[in-house]
Symmetry: C2
Subunit: 452 residues, 2 copies
């Protein structure tokens, strides 16, 4: 019989995995539970969505990342409830797992701010499935445009709207612009992929709002140079299969666009509200659980909430941002606090987030960075970004070669993973568009312009 | 207006792509039509199914492979009919494409020999979607086994049956054996992945039937050494969610297995029978279209059928096998024949298949090969296999680094793409299994065996 302290970690993202790795101790019997069998390197998900990387290149099986920790088991499962008094975690399949200490790092999901019906037209970018859906949409749009004779219809297929100009939106729009202008340059015969319109919009007055204004401007200029139309101060009002209606202080406008991507916002995992209802903890309006300075919830010193699910503040009362760094440092803090308790050592001082900086990439070999207070942009910022991500991926994957390949690809515009996969591809059919376009039954390809 | 000869190629597999590449001529206006936007290197599909490679690493967008051929357009579309008298190809969306010469290389699909209901339990391995489904099934089985307390149930989840001992079945079973014995060695706490049973079965009296008997025996021995149970002369009688019933000269037997993979057989694309009905061409029992020695069909000298869709014979009347080599050489032949006609030059002699040999891989760094009449096995055969595939992939992808990485991975047992993706993962639930196992509501994890 084990008398070790039973610790359960819910979630294998940045926060949960960091906690698990810092709980590598034979004083602890650790169970890590996740719905997925892998840890996902979310900051590079946009590269999967735009065909630069394959899913396997940014994800590692949790099981193998943690295989050397003999005190750790990894369980594939969905946590549906927590009983804080019996100290049990309940899974969807009915399994109950008991804990002495619990770390909840269930993360966040895409929020459509009350417009969940928009999801069908504008996928978010939080999971591998969503990334391959977006990849499908982008590549498919060019394929359809190549075959649609009607110019107006073609234009709608070649219009790409990204809603939300945070780092994800900025990175996505930069990458799509490069696909259109570089990657697909020579690939089509009826359309010129360069004619694609890429529109990045946000309700905020500037892109990359969490960054200093100076870097926002830099980013805006880089995006414009790449051919991205940046529209700030714009709200989405309606959305359907044909496009979207927007509103700004200049009035309402509608955009015909067959590809819309939602990088607009996130909300906490539903587990936050469930936990709050069981513990009387408070949640903020994004559903995040308000935690004490030691990352536990009031009255339950054995329950830690970290990462995107936690509403934590720094010493000055400012809310901590939803960044991988915050989650990882929170995970380390919770793990250390638990080990201190187990060893009977003194309690830790309150959690302190050490801000190493923020980065966003804009297309090939360009980025903006706010690192240790230094404001960088252009190639230097890209190099910083590159090496930080390199170090991280190598730590988890030991797949240096993949990363080198990716860097080369990134610099040469080639994209190796431009696959349209999934069930929809087998039902390729645009009879409707053809009919709408009053097309004759026979579509004669335009003769190719080849010297004889 | 173009007066060039209009050539249409249906299918971007080995045959169609080879034909397209040999039609790089400004005398020809070429349209390549495929349901997918990529050329798939099928011989390595089993590596995707077993988590060694990502889909993007064995597939290249047809569009980019052919982008430098300015006389060529690539259309994403499904061909549903051919009108050989009006000389038109009809797509599912109603588009009609006219041709002067047509090359049909629509390939083959998995055949369950009249038992199509088996597909739900035993996916085949012809597409990327099927490969990721199989990957899902294999990895998920280990995850469930880790959590199921009932030993009999656990055993069913750890039993993997591969039906069909051709190259695909042999390669798959070898790879699964390695996953169980090497890749996952340290990853689980409740189960020992080595206890997995891998059963390879075939109705034929020996594995790799198209190979010389001597190499079949070698392969059999290698598989047995890897821990694969090889059962020949065995027919599948029934299949359901719980496993399958088999029959051999020793009588009937049933095997409880949650993972069954169908590598049992293929049948020609339905386009074969459609073409036959329009042209009065004959088909064989696998639905392949019987072609003349010049690969055209009787009475239609402008319609070529190549690859898996064609039933062709060599000079001695022996049927040509369904191999990439046969398809590629057929594609080159048809392309050359068309160009000769366009130039008004003399007709080609009948198609002659030049047999370079056959290869099959059995696990890590071992293979059997029958190359240029030489019978090789073990590491030498693996090296031959490796370099042939290297050359091919490099030609199409220029992604040397990926290949090096893969080779290293292949030699070190690590598998980088072990992701359980797809909708099923979000609904992880085995309440039924737990109930069946009369499990208590609380599943207490067995204490981990860690030195204190």
């Amino acid at each position: 019989m084990s008398e070790r302290t039973k610790v359960v970690v819910i979630g294998g993202g940045f926060g949960g995995l960091s906690a698990a790795q810092h709980l590598h101790s034979n004083l602890v019997d650790l169970t890590v539970i996740d719905r997925r069998n892998y840890h996902l390197f979310q900051p590079l998900l946009y590269q999967v969505a735009t065909g630069s990387l394959s899913p396997g290149e940014i994800a590692s099986p949790l099981r193998s990342v943690l295989s050397r920790q003999k005190n750790t088991r990894v369980w594939l499962g969905t946590v549906v409830d927590v009983d804080p008094d019996l100290k049990q975690v309940i899974l969807a399949d009915g399994t109950i797992v008991a804990y002495d200490s619990l770390i909840i790092a269930a993360g966040s999901e895409t929020s459509y701010f009350g417009h969940n019906d928009w999801q069908q037209w504008a996928p978010g970018l939080k999971s591998i499935e969503e990334a391959t859906t977006i990849r499908h949409k982008i590549l498919y749009a060019f394929e359809v445009a190549e075959r649609i004779p009607d110019l107006e219809q073609r234009r709608a297929w070649l219009t790409f709207v990204i809603v939300g100009a945070g780092p994800t939106g900025v990175e996505l729009s930069g990458a799509i612009a490069e696909i259109a202008r570089q990657t697909l340059k020579n690939d089509f015969r009826s359309i010129n992929p360069k004619e694609a319109q890429i529109i990045l919009m946000d309700g905020a007055p500037r892109v990359l709002r969490p960054f200093p204004e100076y870097l926002s401007e830099k980013a805006n200029r880089s995006l414009t140079n790449l051919g991205v139309q940046v529209r700030c101060g714009v709200m989405v009002k309606h959305m359907n299969e044909e496009g979207l209606t927007i509103e700004s202080d200049k009035g309402a406008d509608s955009i015909a666009a067959k590809t819309v991507i939602w990088a607009g916002g996130i909300t906490a995992s539903p587990l936050g509200r469930i936990l709050a209802s069981r513990t009387n903890a408070e949640t903020d309006k994004a559903g995040r659980v308000k935690v004490k300075p030691d990352l536990t919830i009031p009255n339950y010193p054995d329950i830690y909430v970290i990462g995107d699910l936690a509403s934590a503040t720094d010493e000055k009362g400012r809310p901590l941002p939803g960044l991988a760094q915050v989650a990882m440092q929170g995970g380390q803090y919770a793990a250390t606090a638990i080990l201190q308790k187990v060893k009977g050592q003194q309690e830790l001082p309150p959690f302190h987030y050490f801000d190493k900086g923020t980065l966003a990439v804009i297309g090939r070999a360009a980025a903006v960075a706010d690192v240790f207070g230094a404001h960088l942009s252009g190639f230097i910022a890209w190099l910083v970004w590159f090496f930080i991500h390199l170090m991280y991926l190598v730590t988890f994957q030991s797949r240096v070669l993949v990363f080198i390949q990716w860097a080369i690809q990134d610099l040469t515009f080639s994209r190796g993973a431009r696959l349209i996969t999934g069930t929809a591809t087998t039902d390729f059919n645009f009879t409707k568009e053809l009919a709408d376009a009053h097309a004759a039954r026979e579509i004669k390809p335009e003769p190719l312009n080849v010297p004889r």
